[in-house]
Subunit: 398 residues, 2 copies
């Protein structure tokens, strides 16, 4: 930002700010260079698209050097990256990422959904792992440029999109900075942004196994940030859940078996109110163990919006509160547990049909997603796909 | 193991077990191929060696494919590795590592220190992250081969060694296995082993800042395993501690401020006993939040060994027990807190001279390491460097 007077060195791709020669160059989208693929890949047929499985023709890459600052970012053909095996990103997990989707609207414009929220979260994730600071507004500008370059990859069909995966990772130390394998933040970083044409994450209701012997996140840990090391510890419990016939894990926390997240998604339940004034939409509070999801925040905002209540003719009461497996069991036995929803960028809003816990299943009624989940999903998808303008949430990639 | 009938395919480096064509090939040290560097690097002068800062001429690499199994491992020149940017090792932290040292003895033989313990731990770390299983005995055989290839890199001076860093990481999915960025274990893995000539980690006493707002590990998490994602969350607190004038962090846990680990090391205190029958050597128990360190286990074993008590003329009482900052403060005020020790493969045994907590310092008496830390360090170093044979702890690299 504010880097208009910088001079690029074509040889290294590094830039120095000529107005302020002592300071490292900021990441600058206006310096984006283009190296386009000589041959473009054929588009996949829509039926074969699955989440994050195939990638577009190009990616954006930029690197950070503590002396020079950020290199000029580059659009280049999607391809492998080459790194020193001592890199911190292999050894100590100094990697953060984001996930967001670009949709093609009926007006032919490509839109992102509340990308500013992803960018603020990415800035916080970087800070949490002591990565070099990034300016999320500039990363967003780069994302828009990539979306426009890869426009042919955005599927036109509803529910399909171009999933965008920005990743920032530590990748080496300065050679004169006596660190090597020392357990400390490295001073070089690499940003790359991938694009993946993507279909529905899951459409059928999923079953969840509530797990307390493995714990996803804890106060004072990194569960509230989108850092790489949060995810692989879930692979083994996920495999064990699958062997028991469940699709995903419902992560519990603490001796009171608080409900936190589902797999790598936020989790909501719809519960009938005693006063019969609509329904409660309940999810765990952001206490540091919960990822502050963009879709999560959007569900809560819709649930708090009288305009949306009018649209769907139901009064929703958003509740960010601690609730436990005992609460779920009680609501279920009283016939108040109406819907259980997995919420996230990939899934948007997806239905859960049963929750296994201590050998029994809590069964959520209905074979399909219930009316509240369906209404929220439809509203969000209408905004994402540009059929509805709503409070600036859909951001056109100009 | 047991893979003598396998047939190597020189083109791919992949092997299939001809006696059992349906099963993927096991990792097999007897298949090790050698591609030696054409030019060898000059050795660094001993004064410039720091922990993990420079690397030897070669590394060992092997890859795992779910259909073919392990490739024939290869000694090759140390150099960059090339990976797809969608790899799980960049996105989800599916990476584990180990750390161990090879020493040159007065008999001219290279020795590792209790490497079987590292290998059992690495097997457990792999299992915890749902990486393909490894046979640690085979990895150890490869490590010995690398040590012998890199023999000239082992410094002869006491306290110096060739640090060995085996790393195993998920690196891609099978292309036909519809996963991509899906949050699940990938089915391909890469093992590599690096060697780094290394000097003392720190020799002067270090100061510790006791931290409870950031938490290193939690029951049900991965703190008891050597996985990459455990380390980067410590970078920011470490930087904050340095800004306050402390060298390392003392990680606390829970509302009662239990003492757990110091930086990326185990932590011990030496406390005077009320019965004056020697001293207590106290460390936190292995409750899942503590890394089961090889040096930690060795200190406890020595502290439990009458033969060692005789050698040092002090009765030691090993105590694996929960203890808190209040206990430390009490022992200090009563004059019973004799020594505080950071324990680990890199540091072996290192002294701590003060512990900052809630604005005050607990000061450990003496400007140098105390007699117990000194005696344990000397004993372990004598075993590591082959001056003493002790219960098979020193393992010659034949």
């Amino acid at each position: 930002m504010g880097n208009r007077n910088s001079v690029a060195s074509p040889a290294s791709g590094q830039t120095r700010d000529s107005a302020n020669p002592g300071s490292p160059a900021a990441l600058d989208a206006s310096k984006l260079s283009m190296t386009l693929a000589k041959t473009l890949k054929p588009l996949q047929s829509i039926e074969t698209l699955r989440f994050g499985q195939s990638f577009s023709d190009h990616m954006i890459v930029a690197t950070y050097d503590p002396e020079m600052g950020w290199s000029a970012p580059e659009v280049k053909p999607y391809g492998p990256i080459t790194l020193d095996p001592q890199c911190s990103c292999f050894q100590y997990g100094g990697n953060v990422f984001e996930g967001m989707k670009a949709y093609l609207g009926p007006d032919g414009k490509a839109r992102l959904f509340r990308p500013d929220m992803n960018m603020r979260r990415m800035e916080k994730s970087c800070a949490r792992l002591a990565l070099p600071p990034i300016d999320g507004d500039v990363v967003l500008e780069l994302i828009k440029r990539l979306v426009n370059v890869e426009r042919r990859w955005i599927p036109k069909e509803s529910g399909y999109s171009l999933y965008i995966r920005p990743t920032l990772m530590m990748y080496k130390h300065s050679p004169d900075w006596n660190v090597g394998l020392g357990v400390t933040a490295s001073d070089h970083a690499m940003l790359y942004i991938l694009a993946s044409p993507t279909g529905p994450y899951f459409s059928k209701p999923v079953s969840l196994l509530a797990v307390s012997e493995n714990v996803r996140a804890w106060p004072g840990g990194t569960g509230g940030h989108k850092v790489a090391g949060n995810y692989s510890p879930g692979f083994l419990p996920q495999r064990a859940a699958a062997e028991k016939g469940y699709d995903q894990i419902l992560w519990l926390f603490g001796d009171d078996r608080r409900v936190t997240e589902a797999g790598a998604m936020n989790f909501f339940v719809v519960v009938k109110r005693d006063d019969e004034d609509g329904v409660d939409l309940i999810t765990a509070p952001l206490d540091g163990t919960i990822l502050p999801g963009v879709t999560r925040a959007s569900c809560l905002a819709l649930a708090n919006d009288p305009e949306f209540h009018k649209e769907i003719s139901v009064r929703l009461h958003p509740q960010e509160m601690v609730y436990t497996m005992s609460d779920l069991a009680k609501w279920s036995s009283e016939g108040k547990l109406l819907e259980a929803l997995a919420i996230g960028t990939a899934v948007i809003v997806g239905p859960c049909n049963r929750i296994g816990f201590e050998g029994k299943d809590i069964v959520i009624p209905g074979d399909e997603m219930g009316p509240i989940g369906t209404a929220i999903r439809k509203k969000i998808l209408d905004i994402q796909e540009g059929r509805t303008e709503w409070k600036g949430w859909g951001v056109v990639c100009t």
